[in-house]
Subunit: 254 residues, 2 copies
DNA sequence: CCAAAAGTGTTATCGATACACCCATGT
DNA sequence: ACATGGGTGTATCGATAACACTTTTGG
C-alpha cells in the first residue's frame, strides 16, 4: 500500500488526509422515462438563497464499509432495504470540491473543516412503484428525467458522476439484461421491458426478435395473467424469477 | 497541512477520516506465463524478520488525482511513463488494515498513526520486455507467476484485490482484445497473441479461427517481417497500430 | 366499427465453429 | 531427412435481422 520512500518525502504529503464519501446515482423507470433521484440543496448566500441539486450521498462513517455506507444512505432516504447497488467508479480529483459554494455547504452541513473528498460512485436501481419516503429529516428528494440532466448544473462533479453511471448501466444492459428487471415492477409486459431496453440503449428493437431473445433468459416467466384496465387488447404479464435465473455467460466478441 | 485530529472519540462519525491510497495490480507477459509485479515487504518482529509481498501502491498525496497517484507509483517503481492504467474497483472494508502486522508496518513506514485506509484498485499492464528499474531506492519488486498467487499470503487484502483485477482483465479481454496488445512486445507473432489470449481466458482457441477474428481488428497490421533465430519456420510479425484502431462496438447479447 | 396496441413465423444473411494438410526452417 | 511449429480454406451450424398481417379490447 505504501512504498517505503513515500515516508521519506520531505513535504510529508502522507499526513494529508482526505475524507471519503459515497454518492449514489439512483435510477428509476416510470413507464415512460428514465429517472434519476436528486436531492434539493439550499445554500444561504448573503441576502438570498441559492438552490440546486445533488446526488444522494454521505461521508462514510467510522467502521463502515463502502457498500454499507451506500446501503445506509439509500435506506435513510427511501426507507427501503434490498436496493440493487453496484459500485462503478471512484472520483478523486482534488478540485472536485473546490467550488466555494460547495465548500461552504459542506462545512455548514458537516460542522467540519473539509479539505478534500474522494468519493466512490454507486449505481442504484429502484422500482419506482415502491412507495418511498422522500422527506427524510430535512432532505427533499425528487425524480428527474435523466434527459434533463444536461441542462442542470448539479453540485460538485455530480454531473460527471451521473454521466459515468449512465455509461455503466448502458454497458451492463447491453451485455446482460438483468438490471432491467430491477427497474420494472414485479409483473411487467414485454412492451414495457422493450421500451426500457430501448430507452437505455437508445435503440429501436424489433418486437418479434426482442421477444424471442428475452424468452431465452432463464428465470423470465410468462404468467397466466394480463394487464387490466387498458383501453385495448390486454397484454400478457411476465415476471423475472431471480431464483431460477442462471447468469448466462458473456459471449466473446470484438 | 490539514488538521484532522478533530476527534475520533466524539460520537460524530463524520469527523472520522480515513486515508486514501491506490494499489496497482501490474500484469506482464513473458511469453509463457502471466506475471504480477509484487513488492518485497520486510517487517521487523521481536527477534527476527518477517517477509512477505504486497502490491505496489501509495497513499495519495495532497492535490493529487487518483489516476495521477497510480501513474506516480508506477513511474517511481519502473521508471516508465505511459503505462496502461485502468481503475477497476475500490476497497473500503474497515478491517482491511487491521492485521497487527499490517498496522505495525504502516506506522513504521509512514510515521503516521493510521486508522483506516480506503484504497482504489488500478489495473496496470506492462510490456515485460521494457527494461525496468526494479530497485528504486529501498523497494525490491519482482515478477511472480499469477498462478502462484493462491499459495501466497499477500499483505492487507491484496490477494482479494489481485483476484478482482484478474476478473476485470478477463472480462475486458473477453469483450475486446485491446488490452492484450499492452502486454505483448511491439512486434509479436500471432501465436504469442493467441497464447496470451488463451492464458488469460483459460480457453484453447482454434488457430485458424483465431487468426481470422484478429485480422478483422482495425489497427492490427501484418508486417513484412519475420521473427529471427527460431529453429523452425520463422513466424510472421504483427503490430498493433493504435492510431488506426477504431474501438469496435460491443455486441449485445445475453 | 373504429382505434390502438398485442401477438405471432419464416426467410435470408452473417458470424462462429469444426476440422487437416502442406510448408519453411534449422539441425 | 527429420523435427518443429507456421500457414492456410471450406463446409456446417446456429444466431441475428428483416419483415406484415391478424387478433383483441374498449369506446
Amino acid at each position: 500500500m505504501i512504498d517505503n520512500k513515500v515516508s521519506q518525502e520531505t513535504s510529508q504529503p502522507i499526513a494529508y488526509n482526505p475524507h471519503v464519501s459515497i454518492d449514489c446515482v439512483v435510477f428509476g423507470f416510470d413507464g415512460e422515462k428514465l429517472k434519476i433521484l436528486l436531492i434539493e440543496r439550499t445554500i444561504r448566500e448573503g441576502d438570498g438563497n441559492y438552490s440546486d441539486k445533488k446526488l444522494p450521498g454521505s461521508i462514510i462513517y467510522q467502521d463502515e464499509d463502502l457498500d454499507t455506507a451506500a446501503t445506509r444512505v439509500l435506506n435513510e432516504l427511501t426507507g427501503l432495504k434490498n436496493i440493487f447497488l453496484h459500485q462503478f467508479h471512484s472520483f478523486g480529483d482534488p478540485k472536485r470540491t473546490s467550488n466555494p459554494r460547495d465548500k461552504n455547504w459542506l462545512e455548514k452541513t458537516t460542522n467540519t473543516k473539509i479539505g478534500r473528498i474522494v468519493t466512490v460512485g454507486y449505481l442504484a436501481l429502484i422500482k419506482i412503484s415502491r412507495k418511498i419516503i422522500f422527506e427524510s429529516e430535512n432532505t427533499t428528494a425528487r425524480w428527474y428525467d435523466v434527459k434533463s440532466l444536461s441542462n442542470m448544473k448539479l453540485a460538485f462533479d455530480h454531473n460527471q458522476i451521473a454521466e459515468e453511471a449512465l455509461k455503466h448501466i448502458r454497458h451492463q444492459v447491453m451485455l446482460q439484461p438483468y438490471m432491467l428487471f430491477e427497474l420494472l415492477p414485479r409483473k411487467f409486459t414485454m412492451t414495457q421491458l422493450r421500451n426500457l431496453y430501448d430507452l437505455i440503449l437508445e435503440t429501436k428493437s424489433d418486437v418479434r426478435n426482442f421477444q424471442k431473445k428475452m424468452l431465452q433468459i432463464d428465470g423470465l416467466e410468462q404468467l397466466d395473467e394480463v394487464q387490466k384496465n387498458v383501453p385495448y387488447r390486454a397484454p400478457r404479464l411476465y415476471r423475472f424469477n431471480k431464483r431460477k435465473a442462471k447468469i448466462s455467460k458473456l459471449k466473446p466478441g470484438f
